[in-house]
Structure formats: structure tokens, C-alpha cells
Symmetry: D4
Subunit: 248 residues, 8 copies
Amino acid sequence: MRCLLQGIKNEEITLEEGVRRLRAMPFEELGFATLDQHRQIRQGFPEVVYCAGKTVEQIVAILQRLLQGNERNNMLLTRAEPEVYDAVIQAVPEALYEPLARMIMVYHGKQERRGQILVLSAGTSDIPVAEEAALTAEVMGNQVERVYDVGVAGIHRVLSKTDQLQNARVIIVVAGMEGALASVVGGLTNRPVIAVPTSVGYGASFGGLAALLAMLNSCAGGVGVVNIDNGFGAGYLANNINRLGESR
Amino acid sequence: MRCLLQGIKNEEITLEEGVRRLRAMPFEELGFATLDQHRQIRQGFPEVVYCAGKTVEQIVAILQRLLQGNERNNMLLTRAEPEVYDAVIQAVPEALYEPLARMIMVYHGKQERRGQILVLSAGTSDIPVAEEAALTAEVMGNQVERVYDVGVAGIHRVLSKTDQLQNARVIIVVAGMEGALASVVGGLTNRPVIAVPTSVGYGASFGGLAALLAMLNSCAGGVGVVNIDNGFGAGYLANNINRLGESR
Amino acid sequence: MRCLLQGIKNEEITLEEGVRRLRAMPFEELGFATLDQHRQIRQGFPEVVYCAGKTVEQIVAILQRLLQGNERNNMLLTRAEPEVYDAVIQAVPEALYEPLARMIMVYHGKQERRGQILVLSAGTSDIPVAEEAALTAEVMGNQVERVYDVGVAGIHRVLSKTDQLQNARVIIVVAGMEGALASVVGGLTNRPVIAVPTSVGYGASFGGLAALLAMLNSCAGGVGVVNIDNGFGAGYLANNINRLGESR
Amino acid sequence: MRCLLQGIKNEEITLEEGVRRLRAMPFEELGFATLDQHRQIRQGFPEVVYCAGKTVEQIVAILQRLLQGNERNNMLLTRAEPEVYDAVIQAVPEALYEPLARMIMVYHGKQERRGQILVLSAGTSDIPVAEEAALTAEVMGNQVERVYDVGVAGIHRVLSKTDQLQNARVIIVVAGMEGALASVVGGLTNRPVIAVPTSVGYGASFGGLAALLAMLNSCAGGVGVVNIDNGFGAGYLANNINRLGESR
Amino acid sequence: MRCLLQGIKNEEITLEEGVRRLRAMPFEELGFATLDQHRQIRQGFPEVVYCAGKTVEQIVAILQRLLQGNERNNMLLTRAEPEVYDAVIQAVPEALYEPLARMIMVYHGKQERRGQILVLSAGTSDIPVAEEAALTAEVMGNQVERVYDVGVAGIHRVLSKTDQLQNARVIIVVAGMEGALASVVGGLTNRPVIAVPTSVGYGASFGGLAALLAMLNSCAGGVGVVNIDNGFGAGYLANNINRLGESR
Amino acid sequence: MRCLLQGIKNEEITLEEGVRRLRAMPFEELGFATLDQHRQIRQGFPEVVYCAGKTVEQIVAILQRLLQGNERNNMLLTRAEPEVYDAVIQAVPEALYEPLARMIMVYHGKQERRGQILVLSAGTSDIPVAEEAALTAEVMGNQVERVYDVGVAGIHRVLSKTDQLQNARVIIVVAGMEGALASVVGGLTNRPVIAVPTSVGYGASFGGLAALLAMLNSCAGGVGVVNIDNGFGAGYLANNINRLGESR
Amino acid sequence: MRCLLQGIKNEEITLEEGVRRLRAMPFEELGFATLDQHRQIRQGFPEVVYCAGKTVEQIVAILQRLLQGNERNNMLLTRAEPEVYDAVIQAVPEALYEPLARMIMVYHGKQERRGQILVLSAGTSDIPVAEEAALTAEVMGNQVERVYDVGVAGIHRVLSKTDQLQNARVIIVVAGMEGALASVVGGLTNRPVIAVPTSVGYGASFGGLAALLAMLNSCAGGVGVVNIDNGFGAGYLANNINRLGESR
Amino acid sequence: MRCLLQGIKNEEITLEEGVRRLRAMPFEELGFATLDQHRQIRQGFPEVVYCAGKTVEQIVAILQRLLQGNERNNMLLTRAEPEVYDAVIQAVPEALYEPLARMIMVYHGKQERRGQILVLSAGTSDIPVAEEAALTAEVMGNQVERVYDVGVAGIHRVLSKTDQLQNARVIIVVAGMEGALASVVGGLTNRPVIAVPTSVGYGASFGGLAALLAMLNSCAGGVGVVNIDNGFGAGYLANNINRLGESR
């Protein structure tokens, strides 16, 4: 903004132009969507498209506009059903699809590989959410290690993973049912732990509420919680944390 | 009942008497309370007095009536504030009081000591509920071992208790916050585990709801859950389980 | 573990080998699943496969690996839809299927028959959950008696079952709607009662919440509660309780 | 209203007067309260004063105005703390107080005694609510029989009351905790059953929610439910039902 | 029971027979169902079959057994989908079906017609539940008047129905959304009001919770509430109330 | 009403007729629906047909009757699936359909255009609800400006809309997930803000509960909230507010 | 902002000064509070002090700073306990206190009186919240009429207020318990209705939740809802609506 | 552990000793507490004492034992009422107390100061929780900047803090009511954001639930949430994140 004001003062930019730029610059309007083109600069990654509740036509239109100016950035579409991918592949042939995690990824150019993010899942049924987290972190330029099905019913399984726990810079714990794995891992490490409750379970799991409450009440410190089934959010936060080392 | 019918048939008991006995026998009415005098026979322990919501006068009256015919049985009053004890001690001088667990116990005669019940608590703040469970089990004739403050934030604490876990016939796990200890213990043993959620915690623990839901959703099997803060219920169920060995 | 350490001291096992064994021994990793091969030893029954949320391929792979080393143990798969059974039967021809309870059972070798577990259901609609409990207990080696549709709206139905209540060592009560049967049975017996709320009902049953809360608040003692519709958990806990008599 | 219109047509009442009466007649305004003076006619009993949340001054002012024109009717004040009674007694010396039920009653003239209403309570702690129901019904002119502390943990207690269940025209069941007594009584009678959940309990009773849900989900038909702790509402509805016989 | 005991005393019935009869008499066991054959005597109407959650085969078998001994009684099946009716009609050709209310009715012999029950619905979408209530009351021998779509958004609609409100002996109010009609009607009459919340609505109606809570908190007295969408329960309770006049 | 009474006094209207008119006038009965024909007069717009839960036949019948006497008024049907429109178009050929908002609109004659209502949506997925609000306001005679996808994750998007915020007389904010846009807009304007939470989101959005609670707790004043997904209600309230200027 | 940029361009303001002003201008920082000094301009009324959760010292400091520059504006403090007033009166002698509504008002200079806002309360116990709404509207320059205790249990009370309903430009409905008054009023008027649920009630009112849900589900349109007990919010929104007429 | 096994192999440690050490080493038992003495090594900070629910005697005893071996580490006690501090100061004279945050801090030796953590609060009433977070981070060796009362009702307040947002390595957002500040800040930065919902609010804030749900549903990514009012947890997690840079 300082640059903009400087320009006005220097009369390089007219006053009207200044007001116009101040308002219109950082996004573009498609009518049904207002794209945040500067997110790559402000947040380090282009806007991610959350596909649920959008029509296929809207998704493709958003994607095409986002690609303009982000030709060298990776891109990500979450909660994408197969029919979304069928349309996206027409417009962006290099797009990849991961059906389990329901994600579409577009890899462009090179990406540095930041130090390790560890993704743990309590059960096999939690893997789709865990993969959403892992793939998000990978697309954003992080190395990811996956360790799945190490829930607390067999506590020795996670205890045997001390090497991985030590080597990781950030740990993502994905668990449904009672979500106890987050507390146990939180007590074993001093690395930041991101807990993702899942809707895996039935009855009194109430769609993931049980795991969510458990993780929020973790008796171990150092645990931040994201929304139920929000693997993307966990991967994104892990990326933001992992990137910290670089900026010193 | 068969005996009663036999008596009627043999004309030892008149018909009217039979009807009267069938109805009136197993309890006594105090107006404000209908005492279940046969509970000792039917359930193996006299009726326990839950003091919350009763006046001191009601409690003393109930206790005195229960004592008649239960002179050789231990008795128990739960959720008893100190002023209740002050009144009870007048009527039953041998009554003992445990303020932490808010329990009054009356020991009468000898009691066999059944094999071990292990009571674990996740934190120091869970001890009042854990003590309610432990004392209940002791009054009913069980040996109890207590291991407190072994929550999962330091998982090695409970792992070091493998001897106690092996020796116990029944295990009671008392935990607030996220209640994860129940799942971990459930995975370490094949003994019946009784989980007691406590209201220890704040915010999204919602008065123990978080621990309750976690325990109900335990990924480890073999865990039965009782009401929030219901140490008495856990001790009572543990006694019923522990007694099973005898009756074979 | 003592054995392992002894081996290291005696130089029968190298140090590196000791570290490796300590970590890797009790489970096997399939990538998507981390199998707990020692559960038969630690818990008395091999790991049970909860099929919901797993692909058919994952289930078959898990089952095949579990069978290695458990050739003489019974096995159990819960929440198995018919298409799961179609695949399992290819790999394990002796597998049996119970569609009502959605369970697959594999019987291997002989099993002792422990004393009786009684399974009560309040209504006809609760039978699928009741059968999950009953079959679980049977596969694990217990005799089971079933008494169905004896809810409290006709209280004489359960009162007429006093013989069965007397003979049982453990009682499982399966009930939806208001779940009152658990309290009534809890008051009639001194045997451990395991209460299973079901999602049978509508409106303010809120998917079984009404029955769950009722059972947790049972005015009769000696009742442990498992998750809504968790017939398996009830059968498993009943087995752990029933087995207690043997180990004295 | 027909009378009023007739009067207008006959010119006994002027038009303006007609409009005025139509609006202002059936209540009086005190500024802070708008009294419904015709409720005795429309509903068969004068407006009842719910004292919670009103100042003592407001209560006395309302009572005095209600007494005008209701000199021969009984009156009722609910949720009245002792200090309310201290003020009321000054204004209405014949007012009676029942501290347990927190009710003030004013008896005026004679009252027929309609056939029996039976009030059952599950526990001793439920008596204050049960008394609110019983006293309400009595003030409104019904005979009431009380049977307290007959909860389902000792099912024979309520089963022994078949005479009372047979003789009653309406049955009020007051129960906290799991509220199962309503279902059991509903199954034993074809009389209308009014169920009153109470806030007696702790933990997962959630202030009476458990009992409320249980009663709404009663597997026995013929049960109508009122608000938690709403003894007054139950007594009032019972009166309305009991009065039906008269009007034939 | 007195008769049975008398028979034993007179040696008309052997003792063993007495014990057997006492237990086995009032119901029959089908394995999956325990039929309460004496409900007609105890409750004035045979057991009603709630079809949800039962297989078609179970329903037909229950119905056939219930018909034995109830040849002259009307019968009722609720929550019956069309395929249930297709099977029932084979076994009971005189069975009638009402698809809106999802009810099957079997009329046998004559039925007295008791005085009027008024069924009000707040909206058109509430009619299926209202019809369940109305048909239940009719099958049980009551005259029913229906007044539909008179919700409080146009308060004059219900105010114009004062004749019907006056003539009714019992009033059933069926309403979804905010359920305010119950309070308004409760204030207009001194007849017993049975309120049925429905799941009609969306968003913050939470499946009928909003209407349920509103009805429980009715500022007008004399309102008893049944479960969400429980038209049957309302009709059944109305019948029990309406029948009161007869028994005096 | 004064007119009616005047007519009675003048004997232009008989007394019986007066009673009849007073009751029957302002609506018509179709059996399943009680139409409020005077709503145009009392509320300024004819009754709107909420189609969910009504059969196509009912909807068409209601629409036809409403059209009588409203020939010059616009009409509105909400929550109308395509099959409803297929039937309506037969009866009312000029009816228009907006599938995204699931609305049918009938434009009749001219409509004034009141000053601007601004409809903001936080995301693209919120557009169906936003359109329901916008179309409702338009049908009722208001100018509407739409600004979509300006959620707070890119706060500059809404900040750039200050002109629109200034020009609007009423602002409708439609947002799911955390619903924060309502608070931000509330702080930027002194115009009335109507907040519409949507069910857009997953997990702990609990069907729109998160956005609903957030909007109710807005730290900015001047925000009124309607039901989750209730675009119609927002548009209707905005119309009522916007019309205020005219009536001065 | 345009002015500021103009100043920069004209070199009347240095660039640094411009950046500084742009950021710091519209509020002042007290450390514990960041005062929004331009709210009078942006929102038409100075910042209102919500006293709950603030110390008396903080409140007085905030008030004194707000007064600077608002010497001719009225001011408002809500949720102020008497001890807050005792301190405020020292600093601002002209401050007035309304203990029922717990509000402190400072009147400065003259205020126009906009056309009428009608405040209705369902019961006497709702008056404190109703007064908070009424006083807020008055301080902000609106005429207010109060009509209290006209709940739907005596529907004729509110029906008799048609004159007041007609004359009002905005209507605020304050109701606890089942909150039905909002729907009834919404159906009687085409003026904007602001509904304020209150926490008046007990049991299943769940602290005002019942009234809140009822109001959100109002079957009558044109109703906007604010938080439970939020009289201030209702008065503030009513002011924003009422002011609309002026700005045309 | 490798060291321990090496010692056994080398016969420097006896086998029995090895088993004993393996189990008993990392904690100490006080009966009521099991202290985790190695937490400084495993987690980088000694065990923190959560004082709520513990007696003053227990707290002092725990503190004294923790001090042994942690003489050069800072220590922290949370949720400490003044009477706890009065006792602690006797035992640890250098202990400091912060009454607003209810924290006791013991500073020992020097601490490096890691780069900046920014703590934002939405309101003045949120400061106690914000201070708990800030002090926790400071005691653990981080620089902290505080910016309070910058909620979204005046969005320019937080927008003016771009310098602080840029300079921070981790951002903690503390907000009650609707908790919208977390989403807004999440959209303005690519730094990790830790959101702390507070119980500030009333009515439908339901003790912080509204803010909690809002934060979990943040439309901006990169936000991790901790329990309601859990300032400590946020400070602790921020420390773990901030420490990451060091370990590269």
C-alpha cells in the first residue's frame, strides 16, 4: 500500500486510479465467485478450490481463471467427486486425481521439499482424511511420512514409531471414534501436533463430535485441532508451521 | 414365591394373608421412602442411600429402618455432605466418613476379601470419584489397589503398571478431560474394564460429556461405561463382576 | 519383555536384534493397516475386523494376514455387508455369515463353552444388535441364551423370565426407545448387566441418545453401558467377565 | 361475544362501548402485568401466579387484583420462596404455604372432590415436584393419592400398588434419573398417564434431559409428558382430564 | 391373580400349574416377538404393531397370532410401508390402508362412538402425522373432527374454530416449525390438550426439536406432549382420556 | 371490525350474519389447507406457498385458489422441485422457475421498485440461499444488488464494496461455515443487517448451527438473524423494512 | 479516505503522516481497549460499553475517553451492576441508572424523536430484557411504547392491541418459555418484527434455547431474531430500521 | 532405552535393575500424583501444574518435588486462585503471581528469547485468557507482543496491525462471542494461527460453544483451535511451533 501511496504522491498514478486500484486489485469477479489472486503472495499458495456445493461449470471456470498468473504454482481442488475430475482433465490435462482423498492436484514447475511432516492415522477407515492432509502438505512442498492404523487399542504400535516421531517437524494425528491417539502422541513429543477428528464411528460418535471433544480436551499440551474430517486444513496448517524455519 | 404358594396350598397361610404377603413383604413404607428390605437377598447388598436431594431427617430415618434386619451387613451412604455425617453419627456411632469421596460407611461383622479390583485415575483431580469407587468396592468385600495420576499425557506411567494390570480381576478407570486412559487400558488387558468419566475439565469438556463420549467410543473392546462421576456405580458393578468366581 | 532382556544379557540375542524385536514384534504392517498379531495372547482373542469404512480388498488382505498364526483361533468380522462376505468366502471357504447381525464368523478347532450369557432385547426391532452381541459371545466360547421382545410396556414378560435371570452369569440388555429395560433388569439381579442402547426409535430418540442417557442414569446399580448399537462390544465385555471364573 | 353483539344490536350498548368492551374486558392492566380475569370462566380456574422472576411487590399486586372477582375461588401461587409467603400472608391472611413444593394456596368456599388422581414418585428426591402436582390437583378440587419412592430398581414396589393403579382416574408419574417408571406404569394401566421428568440426578442426566427423552420415547402408549420439574403443569392437566366425566 | 391363588387353595389347580400359569399366561412367544395377548383386557385395545424395523415376515406372523383371540377387536399397524400392506392383505383381506398416515387398520364388529376428539394441524405438511392421530382414535372407537392448516401465522383461522374447540372433549394439536399452536389452543380451552411436535421444518427446527421444546415450555397449562411425529401416541392417549367418562 | 359492528348496529347485517362473517371471512378452507385470503391486505403480499412436504396436487390447488382475488398481485412458491414447476406451468402458464433457488414466481401487473437491497454471500456455495433471498425481495417490489463470494478469508473483497454498502437501504448477509461475514458487515454499516446462516460446511458446522450461533453472537450490533437456509425469510423481512420509508 | 489521499497528493500531508493516519485515526488504544472513535460517524451512535467481564476501572477509563469528542452525543452502558454506576456517577454526574435493565444512560443535548417503536413482552418476568430494548431505542432517539405481559396463553390480550400494532413502525417482541408471541405478532403485522428470546423459564427451556429455536422457526415471515436476553441488540437494530425513513 | 539395554548387555546393570529402571525411572509417585520428571527432556519444559480441583496441600507437594531436578528451569502453575499463591510463596519465595490470568510463574536462570509471538484479543473481556497465553509463552522463552480489543465489529482496528502481523512468527487469536477474528486474521497472514475461543458472551454463546464452532469452521485455512478458555494450551503450542526454527 505504501507503494501505491508513493505513486500517488509522485503523480505517477492519478488519484482516481489510486482509489480504483486500492479497491479492485487483489481479486477478480466471476459473478458467482470473487477470486483472490494475491493469495499466493499473501499466503504463499494460490486459492484452493473447495468443490462441494459448486457446480462442475463453476469449478472449471474458477480453476481456469486462477491458472492465469499462477502458471508456475501448484494448485489444489478438494472434495472433488470423479465427475469433477472428468471435467477438469479436459481443461487442465496435467491434473492428477486421488479418488480416496477426493483431491485434484496440479503440479507446476519445481518445489523445494521442506523437512518432514508425519501423518498418523488411528485406523484404516481414517485413511481418506489422512491422505487429504498428506497430499495437501506434499502439493505445498513438504516431505510427508505416513504411518497408518496405529490407534491406542494396541498402544505398542505407536510406541514403536519413536524414530518417526523424533524426525518429524510437525505431526498430524487423524483419528475417529474416541480420538485418543492425539493425546498419547501429544505426550510423546514436543513437536507441534495437529489433531484431525474424523467422522469414523457410529452411535455416540455423533458424526465425529466425540473425537473432536476429546482432542479439544487433550490432557497433553501442544495440540491444535481442526474441523472434523478437515484433512486439508491440517495439511495447510502443517505447511505454514513447517515453513517457519525458512524465514528466520 | 413357590414357598408362599406352597403355604397357601397347605392351608398354613390363609388366602388373604397370601395376597397381603405377596404385595407387602419385600419393602417397607416410610411415606417419603419405600425401602427395599430384601435387596440384601436379591442383590447381595442392602439398599444404598443416595443422600443428594434428601433432607437429613429423611436420611437418618431411612438408615435406621434399613439397619433393622441388616445388623450384620455393611451399609453405605453416598453423596453425603458433612452435616449428614454429623446426624448419622448420633444414630449409628460406628459410622465412618470419607470427606473426599463424600461417603459414610458402616462396617458390621466380618467380610470375605475377594481378589483384587484395580482403580486407576488419570489425574489428581479425579481422585474423589476414584475413591468413591474404591470405597464402594471395599465395603462390599473386595480388595482394592489404587493407582492414581497415570493419564496418557505421560503414557509410560500406566505402561509401568503392567504388574497391577495383570493381577487385577476387574479394572476401574476414572478419567476426565478426554478420557483416553480407558481406551489405552482396554487395549492392554483382557480383564473387564469399567470406565468412569468425570466432570474434571472445563470448556468443551461440557461437564464430563467429552470423557463420556470418548469412553463410549473406545476403540478397544471390553469397556463398560457408567454415568459421569458415578464412582459408586463403578464400584458396585465391579463387585458384581468380581463375585462371579464364587458362584461357580 | 523379561525374556527378551534375558536373551540380550545371555548374548543369545544381539543388541540390535533386541531393539528391533522390541519394536517390531507384536504387529505387522500392511501399509493401510497395522495388525496386532499378539492380541490373541494379550487379550485372549485375535483382532476383530470392523468392516465399515474399509474397502473389500483391505478387509480380505487383513483377514488373510490375521489367519497366519491364528489357524486354530476363531475369527470375527463385524458390520460386514453381503458383498464383503462374497469376497471373504473366496479366501476363507469355511466362513459363515449372519446377515441380520451383519457378521462373518470363522470357526476353527474346538472351543470350551463357558457358563451362560443371557441376551435380552426390548423389542423385535432390536434383534439385529442383540444378535451381534450373542454371536460375538458364542464365537468367543460362551453359551448364550436369547430372550427377545420383553420390553417394559408389558412388564410381566420380563418378570416371567426369572429362571433365566437366575441362571445367567452375565446379562446383556439390548433396548432402544427409552431403554428402561436395563434399569428393571438391573434391579432384579445381582449379576453384571451390560446395557446396549439401540438406535431403534424416532423423533426424540435422537438416534439412540434417549436410550443411552437412560441407561447411563439407571437408578439400579450394576449396569455398564456400551455405545449405541454396539452389540459386539457388549458380547466382548461379557466374554471378558464370564472368563473370570476360569482364572482363579 | 354473541351476547355483546346482541347488546349492540338492541342498542343497550353503544357502539363505542362495544368496541371498548370487546377489547378491554377480559383482562386488566397493571403496567407490568396484564391479568386475565376471565380465565375462571374460560379455563375453570383463575390465573395461577408463577412467582419466579417476579418481585415480591409485583406478586402481591397481581394477587390482590386477581382476588377481586374471584372471592369464591381457590387461588394458587407456584415457585414461591418463603419471603414471598411472608408478604402474601400480610395481604391474604388465609393463605397457606407448603415449603417443600414452594406453593402458596388460598382456599375459598367449598370445592367438590372429583375422583382420584394418583401421584407416583420414583424416588424420595422427586417428592417436591410430586407435591407440586398433588397440591395443584387438590386445590383445583380433586382427590389425590400419593405413592412415593417406587422406582423401577425395585420393580415389586410399584407392582404391589395395583389397587391404587386400578382406582385412579388419572395417574401422574414423577421421576428423575432415567425416568423408566413412566413406561412401566404406562404398560400396567389404561388410564391416562402424565409423566413429569425431574432434574434429580447428575452427570449425564443433564438437568433432567435424560428422563425427559425417556418419557417422550416411552414404549408404552398413553403417556403425555410435561416440562422438567413441572409438577404444576401435570396437576393442572390431570384436573382438566378428571373434570371430563362431569361434563357429559 | 386372586382367582389363580383361590384355584390353588381349592386344589382345582395344582401348584406346579399355578406357577406355570402365573408366568406364562399373558403372552405368547414367537422367538422374535413376545406377544402381549392380555393387552386388550389390561389396556382396552390389543397390542398395536409398530412396523418400522421389522421384516414383512415378522409383521405378518405377529398379526396372525394377535388375531387369534382378538377376532372381535379392531387392530392397528403403524409406520407401515406399502409393501407391508401388500403382504398383510393376503393374510387379512379386510385390512384397510391409509398411505398418507402409513397405517393399516382392521375393523372387526361394531364399536361404540365416544364423544368428539378434535385434531388440529398447524400446516398442510403436518397432515400425515395428524391423520395417524385421527385414525388411531377412530379405530379405537372415538368420533374425530379434523381441522387442518390453522397455524398461528394467521391467528384468526384458529380463533374462528371456537365451536369445534367447545364441542371437543379432547384436543390434539399437531404442529412443526415453532409449534406455537399448542400454546394458543391451550389458552383457549379447558379441555385436555395433547401436543404432537412434527419434524416439519428445516434448519434450526433440528428434526422437530424446536417444536418439541416449544410445546414442553407452553405458557398455557393443560398441555401434555408426546414424541416428535408420534400421531399414534396422541390418538392413543386421547382415547384413554375420552374413555374416562364411561367408567364412572 | 368496527365496520362490521357498525353494520350490525345499523341492522344492515343480521346478527347471525355478523357472527358468521366475523369467523369465516378472512380465509377459505380446502380441507387440507386454510387459505389466508386477506394476507395481501394485512401483510402487503399474498400468502406464499412453502412447497416442501406438500403433494403436487395440493400445491396446484392452493395456487389456483390463491390466484382468485389476487389476479393483480405477484405470487411466490418456495422450495419447489422441478416436478412442482412442471405441474404449476400447466395451471399458470406465466409462472417462472429459478432452479438454483428452487423458486416459482408469478409476475402480475406492475410493481414499484423500492430502493436498493444488497445481498452478500460469503461463498459460491451459499448462492442458492442468497438467490432465494434476492428473488423474494425482487418479486415483492425491491431493487436488489448481488455481491457474491466475498467471505472474510479475503477481507479486502468485502472492504472494496463500500459503495454498495453505502447505497443499500437494507443488507442481507448469507454465509455458512463460521458465518463471520455478518459481524464484519455489521461493523461497517449503520443499515439494518439481516443475517442468513446456511448449511454450507461439514463436520462441526452441524448443518449450519455454527454459522447460526456465530450470527446470534455477533459482536457488531444491528444484526437480525433468520433460520438456517431461510433466504425467503430474509428477503421478506428486508421487504418489510424497506417499505417503511413509504409509509411516513 | 478519498480526502486523505487528496491531501497526500496536494502535499498538505506528508507520506509518512498519510500512512500513520490511515492506520491510527479511527480508534484510540488504552492497552486493554481499542476505542472506535469514529463509530458515531460510521454507525450513527458512539461505541456502547458492554460492562460484563470488565473491571470498574476499565469501564470508567473507557467511558472518559469515549466522552472526549462525543460531548454532544448520548452514551450507553449495558449490563452494568450497581457498583459500576457508583463509580460512573463520580466521573459523569449526569449519568442515569435503570437497575431493572442494568443500564447506564448519559443524555447530552437534544435528540429528535423518530416514530414509534413498540416493545411487547410475553410475561412480567421478561420485563428486564424488554426494558433494555426500550431504553436503548429511547437513548438513540426513538419514541417507544411498551405493552407488557401479553403472552399467547391469553391470546385476546395481544389481539386487543391492534391500534398499537398498527401505529408502530418497528415491533420488538420479548418472550421466554416457548416464545410463541413472535409468530403470532408476525402474522398480525407487516412491520418488521425483532424477536428477543429470553432465558425466562426452566427445565426444557434450556436457558432460552426453546424460545430461540421457536423464533427462528416462526411460521410467520418478517421476523429477525437476536441473541437470548439481548434487549440491547434489539433496540439497536430497531433504531437502525426506524432511521431508514429519514435518509431517503 | 538403547543405553539401558547396552548397560544390561555389558553387565554394568543387572537384569533386575534393568527391568526396575525401565519401569520406574521417568516419574515419581506421591500417592495422589505421579510426576513426570523427564518431561523437561521429552517435551522441553517441566510438567505444568493445573491447580483447579487440587487441594493447596497437593499443589505445594507437587511443586516441591518437581523443583528437585528442575532447579534451573522455569515453572508454571495455571488456574491458581490467590490462596494457592499464598501457600506457594511460602515454599518458593521467588514465585510470581498474575491474578488476572490466575497464574504462578517461577523464573530460574536465563532463558533465550525466541522470535515474536503475537497475542490478539477480540475484546477487553477476553484479556484474562489472552494473558494466560502470553505469560505461558513468555515463561517458556518467547518474546510476546500483545494487541487487545481489536474485534471485527471495527475491522479497521485489526487491519491497522499489519506490521505486527508481518513480524510475528506465530499468532494467537483469543475471542469470545462469535469468534470471527480468527477467520479474519487467518486470511491476512501465512503464519500459523492458534485460535482460542473464550466463554465471554451470554445466551446462545453457550459458554463459548459459538466461538469454538466458528473457529473450527474458519473459512480461512491455517487455523488450529484449542479448548475454550485454554490460554495455556495456546501458549504452549505456540512455543512448540516457535521452537522449530532452532532445531534445523
